[in-house]
């Protein structure tokens, strides 16, 4: 892969911005289009791009499969955990208003933020997991790349 010099340079420049864009989409979701789903996919895309240019092994050492596995579960936990937290605070499942009983709308903000983070984590991890899983299989046709 060493011959693709331009690709490597360009992508090295691009990847951080893609990741930052993901977080922009994530946190700007309250105001414009976007949210955890899209952000998660974009975040995963940044890692996938890295893997495509620099090789799967490099990507795996940057984002180890064990993290991915953990991230999948953590995403669901973060989402469900928010609900459990509202339970513990005496509200219904996912009733974020109980976080700040005085200002229900603030609680809603926190809650939405938390669950969107959960979605981000889950989506990004699962996308990576699928990519790792397919990418790591031995290829049947050695003649092509």
């Amino acid at each position: 892969m060493n011959e693709h010099g331009i690709l490597r340079v360009v992508s090295k420049l691009l990847i951080p911005f893609i990741a930052i864009f993901a977080f922009y989409v994530q946190f700007h979701g309250d105001y414009g289009p976007g949210g955890g789903f899209q952000a998660g996919v974009i975040l995963a895309a940044s890692v996938i791009l890295y893997a495509l240019i620099f090789g799967l092994e490099a990507a795996k050492s940057a984002v180890p499969p064990s993290w991915v596995r953990f991230g999948m579960a953590m995403g669901v936990f973060l989402y469900g955990g928010t609900g459990v937290a509202t339970w513990l605070l005496g509200g219904e499942f996912l009733n974020y208003s109980v976080f700040t009983p005085d200002h229900p709308s603030h609680g809603q903000h926190y809650g939405i933020l938390l669950v969107e983070l959960g979605v981000l984590l889950a989506v990004a991890s699962v996308m990576l997991a699928i990519f790792y899983a397919f990418g790591s299989r031995p290829v049947n046709h050695p003649g092509e790349d």
Partner: protein, 513 residues
């Protein structure tokens, strides 16, 4: 209710949501739990709690009638509502109880059939599947049904594919199921979309009210209903849409087959009842037409054809799978009568068949566990080599045929009576003809098992090699349950009667006849 006052009040209010959330979260936890034993213990505990939860809910429903839970604290048409009533409570209990029973059995069975490193995640997928089924049943929101339908479907495809370490054909079966299941889900979601277009709401109760006000609604609602019936028909293996089922049941790991056979199609059947009778209702002509003509014909054809196909299968699991398709036909037949007694019979059979088929697959799984066999011809002499397993299989098998003093008899009696009362004398004939076909395909297996000599290995007869106790207990629980219901089905029939009254309110009786 005295018992209810003993329980923590929190559980009484939030149990509805706990039932679904707990297995979902536990399922997620399984991805990071390394040890199989811990995974099994957690899974078992979670499903046990779910079962108790479902039991509490059932008691509450008896006590207070309909229970409603507002997810996120939002009022129903805006937020998602969870509802437990006489229709859903028994199905919830059935699913969670079958999960517990299967899990008993799982620890040896999964050890033999699933790769050691993957067992924890396998239990995770199971938990998610169970949560999906429970969610489908407990939700009172039409779109939420679709979400949980997907939750259960995706995990089911995975679970079926896990049969690949036993039989590579599991992958093909899972793929077929995936394709057909996705088509079914697409039809279903298009139907939901049309309903939303017609009513502007996703809440089932709200939807029902608005449809009533629109007098059934326009063509949009009609097409929506048709799409929903087709989508659910695929999921519940209605006759021409059943192609995924035999492969999925025959090649999945035993544990998965047992759970799916006894719960998955039942949850979809529940949804059909829910959509056809409570969201829509019998005052709409198109509902009556679709149910009492199309579904009726498909049910009858399915009962006969699937039973005949079952006779010609060589693999016992395929025999039972085709039999399941036929049994779905029975349930749909009762439904298509559109009478109180027909729906009661249908609901009774829904419950009974779960126990019966669960028991049969439990026994077949144990036979594979000991001898690596699933084909009819390999059952020779099993009554001698595995007497307890074979006896349980026999009892459940007789129940499937509909022999008196078993659960199967009760449901067939109810169904035949309902058919007669509806004026469908010919349907009685079909029911009994299909029972005779069941006699043939079960009798064929029993004959090999009881009247042929056990095979020999290297010239030595295979000795008695009974399944472990932990596998025997669940299958005997179900076999005994089958007999208990056969002797006194009062409680099942009562529960079904209450559900049927919910489906056809008094003013609707006789509608569409």
């Amino acid at each position: 209710m005295d018992i209810l006052s003993l329980l923590p009040p929190w559980l009484l209010t939030h149990g509805v949501a706990l039932l679904v959330v707990l297995p979902l979260l536990a399922g997620a936890a399984m991805a990071v739990i390394p040890r199989e034993r811990i995974a099994w213990t957690i899974t078992f505990m979670v499903m046990l709690i779910c079962m108790l939860c479902a039991l509490t809910l059932a008691l509450q429903v008896i006590d207070q009638g309909r229970l409603s839970y507002k997810m996120g604290g939002w009022e129903p048409p805006y937020g998602i509502e969870y509802v437990v009533d006489a229709l859903s409570a028994p199905v919830l209990l059935l699913i969670s109880a079958m999960a517990v029973i299967c899990l008993f059995y799982a620890s040896p069975s999964v050890k033999a059939e699933v790769e050691p490193k993957k067992r924890a995640a396998f239990y995770g997928a199971f938990l998610i599947c169970a949560a999906g089924l429970l969610g489908m049943v407990v939700t009172g929101d039409a779109f939420n049904v679709f979400v949980f339908l997907e939750v259960s479907s995706i995990s089911t495809y995975v679970l079926v594919a896990m049969g690949h370490s036993r039989d590579r054909r599991a992958l093909r079966a899972a793929y077929d199921y995936l394709i057909l299941g996705s088509i079914g889900a697409t039809f279903f979601v298009i139907g939901i979309g049309f309903l939303y277009m017609e009513t502007g709401t996703l809440n089932m109760a709200d939807m029902s009210n608005i449809l009533d006000g629109l007098d059934g609604g326009s063509r949009v609602a009609q097409v929506g209903f048709a799409f929903i019936v087709i989508g659910l028909g695929l999921k519940l293996a209605m006759f021409p849409l059943h192609m995924w089922l035999p492969g999925a049941y025959a090649h999945a790991p035993s544990f998965v087959t047992i759970f799916l056979a006894s719960t998955a199609t039942k949850a979809a059947l529940y949804l059909l009842l829910r959509f056809a009778f409570t969201i829509f209702d019998l005052s709409f002509d198109y509902v009556v037409t679709i149910l009492s003509q199309f579904v009726l014909v498909l049910a009858v054809v399915g009962m006969v054809f699937a039973s005949i196909q079952a006779i010609f299968q060589t693999d016992v699991r395929r025999v039972l799978a085709f039999s399941s398709i036929a049994q779905v036909g029975y349930i749909l037949l009762g439904l298509s009568f559109l009478t109180l007694s027909g729906l009661t019979a249908s609901y009774v059979h829904l419950i009974n068949h779960a126990f019966i088929k669960g028991g049969l697959f439990l026994a077949v799984g144990a036979m594979w566990y000991r001898f690596g066999i699933t084909r009819v011809a390999d059952f020779r002499g099993l009554s001698k080599t595995m007497p307890w397993t074979m006896s349980a299989f026999t009892i459940s098998g007789l129940s499937l045929i509909g022999v008196p003093l078993t659960a199967g008899f009760v449901s067939k009696l109810q169904l035949a009576t309902a058919a007669w009362e509806r004026g469908y004398g010919w349907a009685v004939g079909v029911i009994l003809f299909s029972s005779i076909l069941a006699l043939v395909y079960i009798g064929r297996i029993l004959r090999v098992a009881y009247f042929e000599t056990p095979p020999q290995i290297n010239g030595v007869e295979v000795l008695k090699n009974e399944a472990p106790l932990i596998m025997l207990i669940p299958m005997w629980i179900l076999a005994i349950l089958s007999i208990v219901i056969g002797i006194n089905a009062g409680w099942v029939v009562d529960a079904a009667g209450r559900a049927a009254e919910l489906l056809i309110p008094t003013q609707m009786i006789g509608r569409g006849l």
